[in-house]
């Protein structure tokens, strides 16, 4: 039997009728049209599906959609404000931290969660925060440099 799910996605209050066994990733991509978050492994090991739930980076492939009832979800689409990319997105572009782009939405969300909590992360903190986002292409160095360029000394 379908259930009603109410949630906020990227500052928009939405509701949708879904079967209880659907994941947040399925609902975002297939019901609500937010195709930014990707499925890599579907099993928690790659981070391509990372979105923020109430500000925390979570794997939407392992989150039951009904578990985010009443919560606030931010996907990579939600980072664009007034047509302008978020500083994290801009830094990824400027540093060449994107090749095929499949891991990018997840990596960007992990970086965003880190910087919201810690405006001046060390290299080690950046590496740890992004260790759950596998990238087949870049070799990570440029991703780490992109995020490092946003660290603001206090």
């Amino acid at each position: 039997m379908k259930r009603r799910l109410e949630l906020t996605v990227n500052d928009e209050c939405l509701d949708v009728e879904i079967e209880p066994h659907r994941t947040l990733l399925e609902v975002l991509r297939e019901e609500l049209g937010f195709t930014g978050a990707k499925e890599g492994c579907g099993l928690g090991a790659c981070g391509a599906c990372t979105v923020l739930v109430d500000g925390a980076p979570v794997l939407s492939c392992l989150t039951l959609a009904l578990e985010v009832q009443g919560k606030t979800v931010t996907t990579v689409e939600g980072l664009v404000k007034n047509g302008q990319p978020d500083p994290v997105q801009k830094a990824f572009v400027d540093h060449g931290a994107i090749q095929c782009g499949f891991c990018t939405p997840g990596s960007v969300m992990s970086a965003k969660a880190l910087l919201e909590k810690n405006s001046n992360p060390s290299g080690q903190e950046i590496r740890e925060a992004l260790a759950g986002n596998l990238c087949r292409c870049t070799g990570y160095q440029k991703i780490i440099e992109a995020v490092g360029s946003l660290a603001k000394p206090r």
Binding site: M1, R3, E19, P20, H21, R22, T23, L25, E26, R29, E30, E39, C41, G42, L43, G44, A45, G47, T50, A56, P57, V58, L59, C61, L62, T63, L64, L66, E67, Q69, S110, A113, E128, A129, A131, G132
Partner: protein, 336 residues
Amino acid sequence: MMRLPKMDYAAPPTLSEVCVLMSEQQEKAELLAGGTDLLPACKLRNKQPTLLVSLGKIPSLKDIRFDESEGLRIGAMTSLNALRYDPLAIAHYPALIEAAAAVGTTQLQHMGTLGGNICLDTRCTYYNQSESWRQTRAVCLKMGGEVCHVVPKGNKCYAVFSGDMAPVLLALDARLKLASSAGERSLRLSEFYSGDGRKPLLIRPGEILEAVIVPPPAGKESSAYLKYRVRGAIDFPLAGVAVRLAATADGLCRDCSVAITAVSSAPVQVPEAADLLKGKSVTAELINKAAQETSRAAHPVANAFGATPSYRRKMIGILTRRTLTSLAQNLGMAVR
């Protein structure tokens, strides 16, 4: 898209309602905490519950409290990330922080709970696979069949317990508080594991883990956890060692506790190693002996990717030596 089987879902707002629901449903229902162990198992069709009962709507299960006499009480739904940055845990139990920080990735630490980590299912290279992969072989004991592909001559399942928190909680002598519609009970964590890979927990049908209680540190003591895994960024342990060490005023070992994980179907304490040190001056020679004893207590089999059983067993000894040496130095005990 890798999809979950059809299941119903309930999220009762109180623990007593969860207890009632679980007692009515028994085996057909599974408790859902962070879902990071259960949902992959459902996707791979290792488990096919008809109902998921979420613990996510019960705020009291996320409480962390410290009391000088009881110690630290951690609600089962506390996320590993919340525990990792909890000032009370940081102040009193360094090994808890080290273990929480070593679990999976940042995302998994935000989602994964302490309760789910303690109740983790055992793992095996022949079990944590898709249905179509498993169909190429006879159904093994853990999936309800009659054979084991790892130890074909045995009639036991050797799937390995691979949680990082349990060894630390064993070394700290933690207790569990369990709730069910029949009432509450409390038991030591060491009494919670069966050692049977097929059904690793001695939890009763319908029971819910409510909280974990870690006794207060007594005097000069500290704890440490070290883990061996393939990729530092994400993997389950292939061997893990937790140690609690306490010193007397004149620098002897007052008390010691050693526990290991990921080398058998249950995390276990190794009293044979800890007893070697009690009341003694902690020398390098004694530490080596304790490391040998700990390694002897490890019984890994060939059912995890990344290292051979003999290498994992050797690593148990090495990690024991490292944890004991660094703890003894931190506590100002002479290590000669």
